[in-house]
């Protein structure tokens, strides 16, 4: 039986951790979650990123956030990965399976997957 007391345990666990968060993350994963993104299947893609980042313990390095319409609805679900100051990789028509691969190869391995990017889709 789930209870609110479990949240108190989560809080304790967080307090005991050495906190290295706010401002330390160097990589941002941004998922388009406007009407177009949602209709195209962005919700499971977003949830896959959240779960995989937590599972791989990348939480201190990677943040996952939601944004509105990027303006290229035909390519949704769109996921942008920002690293450092201005480096951006735009993945298009992303599925949960592709999201897992992006976490593995790009976020963990440091190598963007060229064939999933908008550059490849527009050829």
């Amino acid at each position: 039986m789930k209870s609110l007391e479990e949240l108190a345990k989560i809080r304790e666990r967080m307090q005991s951790k050495v906190i290295l968060r706010e401002g330390q993350a160097t990589t941002r994963v941004v998922v388009g979650m406007a009407t177009c993104g949602i209709a195209a299947g962005a919700r499971p893609v977003l949830n896959t990123f959240v779960e995989e980042v937590a599972k791989n313990d990348l939480g201190d390095k990677v943040t996952v956030s939601q944004t509105g319409c990027i303006g290229m609805c035909r390519f949704e679900p769109i996921v942008e990965v920002f690293e450092g100051d201005n480096e951006r990789v735009t993945y298009v028509k992303v599925t949960p399976e592709m999201a897992k691969e992006i976490v593995e190869k790009h976020l963990k391995g440091g190598k963007p997957i060229a064939e999933y990017t908008i550059g490849a889709a527009e050829k």
């Binding site: 039986m1 789930k2 609110l4 007391e5 479990e6 949240l7 108190a8 989560i10 809080r11 666990r13 967080m14 307090q15 979650m33 406007a34 009407t35 177009c36 949602i38 209709a39 919700r43 499971p44 977003l46 949830n47 959240v50 779960e51 980042v53 937590a54 939480g59 996952v64 956030s65 939601q66 509105g68 319409c69 990027i70 303006g71």
Partner: protein, 187 residues
Amino acid sequence: MKELSLNILDIAQNSITAEADLVEISLNETDTTLTLTVKDNGYGMSPEFLASVHDPFSTTRTTRKVGLGIPLLKLAAEQTDGYIDLRSTQRSADPENCGTVITAFFNKDHLDFTPIGDIVSTITTLLQGFPDIDYVFSHRIETGGAEKLIAIDTRDMRVILGDEVPLSDPMVLVWVKETLEEQYSAL
């Protein structure tokens, strides 16, 4: 939209855009009907915008001139011979009681009824994306004379979590998911 829960996720974002800090999502089900209500305390809509909001060419988005959130919900309701109803009070008119209430009524037996789908995932997605807002979710199911209630209120959670643990924390999201799934599986 393949699931009503996706329409709900989409509609709730309008409340967030309207600077609401409390969003209440309720589902009331009987054997044959479903009523969805999304209520917020955001800045509301002007009577002119309210009158035009069913029109896809009326939108707050800035990247293009088409907005499909409310029209898609309206379509989902009307294709079951249902309807939507929108009420809004602007902050400038009444700062204490401003906000918007959208109600959608569905006939579940209609061939074109869209299933609710993964509503738990819609709730966790909202918490993940907008953890500074409070959410009250309730799903009341009245079937065969018995009433069952699935509910979660992030204000209760926040009291325990304090300021240092956001609602978007992965452990908190897992807790919300498991809590709601447990309530649903007890039905």
